[in-house]
């Protein structure tokens, strides 16, 4: 069984379709909490929860401040807040300046998760059209977490994963199907 304590997934333009497919086979007893950090999608936040609800057995829930991430849950971010993690792993919300024109910023969440979870973090970056996520992923590597980037050739919008592949030198560059398999294996 995996020793990872958290999976954090960042994505922007073109990532929604991938995310909707990632957890279709995942069961309720999946051992690792999953947190999604998505830039504002064309669908409303409420709708995102509903969309995800139909695509997985995991409980889909919006992050609340001071809440502890639990296995069996798939967390989405509230609109217009950064998501951070305390040393004990609990969530903190933060309404400070946008980073990379984004709130939530993927860099902010990745970096904070890296500091809180260290080597027990799995960090995945998907399709997107800006450079958010790469600096955060570099921090995850420094803290010896596992880093995975969607293969830019497989991504609908390659810019974001390409930045990360070039600058963060992730442990794995995988297609969305391979990412799905990687996650499924964690349940074994």
């Amino acid at each position: 069984m995996t020793r990872s304590k958290l999976i954090i997934i960042g994505g922007s333009a073109g990532s929604l379709q991938v995310i909707l497919k990632l957890f279709t086979t995942i069961k309720k007893d999946f051992p690792v909490p999953v947190v999604l950090i998505l830039h504002r999608t064309p669908v409303a936040e409420q709708l995102l929860e509903e969309l995800l609800n139909g695509k997985t057995d995991l409980m889909v829930k919006e992050v609340e401040e001071k809440e502890m991430p639990l296995p069996g849950y798939l967390y989405v971010c509230p609109a217009d807040y950064h998501v951070l993690f305390e040393k004990d792993g609990s969530f903190t919300l933060d309404y400070s300046e946008k980073i990379n024109f984004s709130r939530p910023s993927i860099d902010v969440a990745f970096q904070s998760a890296a500091e809180a979870f260290g080597e027990k973090l799995i960090c995945i970056l998907l399709s997107g059209a800006n450079a958010d996520g790469t600096d955060g992923m570099i921090c995850v590597k420094k803290c010896r977490g596992i880093t995975i980037v969607q293969d830019p050739n497989d991504a609908e919008v390659s810019y974001m994963p390409l930045q990360a592949v070039q600058r963060a030198k992730p442990d794995h560059v995988l297609s969305s199907i391979e990412i799905k398999k990687f996650i499924e294996k964690l349940a074994d």
Binding site: K66, Y81, L84, F85, E86, D94, Y95, S96, D135, C139
Partner: protein, 276 residues
């Protein structure tokens, strides 16, 4: 040192810095959410191009002026006018009619930063014909932010967004009538600011200073740990008249707090009414 080296601040260093700030200046940040605070400190080190964490600590210990600057940078001053229009719609429809029954109205914006929400409220009170018998207090730990609030001057570039918020909240006038635009700045009318009092107040250490019918504290307590949140709610409870209102940020709640059972939430908005 590159950006990411600085990125990792260890806990012991952080404790020492917080201890210095408390011992020397009386500012206690130990009850702040650590994750956010580390981000703010890191941002300060990067923006000021300090070579190390030790240098930051040295300057804070030895230069009161630098400490004042650090306070400005550490506190989060992000705010906007009429943020969450649905919330302000409830203020207009559910709260203001109750305020109208009082001969004299006192409102406190705790942690008001540069004052955008204070001006928002003044506009709504003026439109309800209540501003003349109201007094609005705006407090914050950051004196530089309060100075901006007193001036009532905001970047003109934000006005379009604020005007949209205003319309969405149910505003019926022309929002631009409330300010005078001059190059890139918008100065809000003094008929709004003459009913405002701005003053420093630290929610960590200071206590209640008046009684109010309405207290706003939005997106401030998310930066505090549970113990400090409970303390602050105690201060608000002591400062609210019976049947007064407490308005919080969209992700904040009275749930699980010691005062929760004496407050009743107004529908789904983040507004609670003191019942006893």
């Amino acid at each position: 040192m590159d950006r990411l080296e600085q990125a990792l601040i260890n806990e012991e260093e952080m404790e020492m810095l917080l201890d210095d700030m408390y011992q020397q200046y009386g500012y206690d940040f130990t009850g702040y959410s650590r994750a956010s605070l580390v981000r703010r400190i890191r941002r300060l080190i990067i923006n000021d191009k300090l070579p190390s964490f030790a240098e930051l600590r040295y300057r804070i210990r030895n230069e009161p002026k630098y400490f004042a600057h650090a306070i400005e940078e550490i506190s989060v001053n992000v705010t906007e006018m009429l943020r969450d229009p649905a919330f302000y719609k409830s203020i207009i429809e559910k709260v203001i009619p109750v305020l109208a029954t009082y001969p004299f109205i006192r409102i406190w914006h705790a942690g008001c930063a540069t004052g955008e929400e204070v001006y928002s409220m003044a506009i709504l009170l003026q439109e309800a014909g209540l501003l003349e018998r109201s007094l609005i207090y705006g407090t914050d730990i950051n004196p530089a932010a309060l100075e901006k609030a007193r001036q009532g001057i905001f970047p003109v570039g934000y006005m379009q967004q604020y005007s949209r918020n205003y319309i969405a909240a149910g505003g019926r006038n022309d929002f631009s009538a409330y300010y005078t635009a001059n190059y890139h700045l918008a100065k809000f009318d003094e008929s709004l600011s003459h009913k405002m009092i701005f003053s420093t107040h630290n929610l960590v250490t200071d206590s209640s200073f008046n009684s109010f019918q309405l207290i706003f504290c939005r997106n401030v307590m998310i930066y505090f740990d549970k113990k400090l949140q409970d303390r602050v709610l105690g201060v608000f409870d002591n400062s609210l008249e019976q049947f007064g209102f407490l308005a919080l940020g969209s992700k904040e709640s009275l749930r699980f707090s010691p005062i929760a059972d004496r407050y009743k939430q107004i529908e789904k908005e983040k507004i609670w009414r003191k019942t006893s």
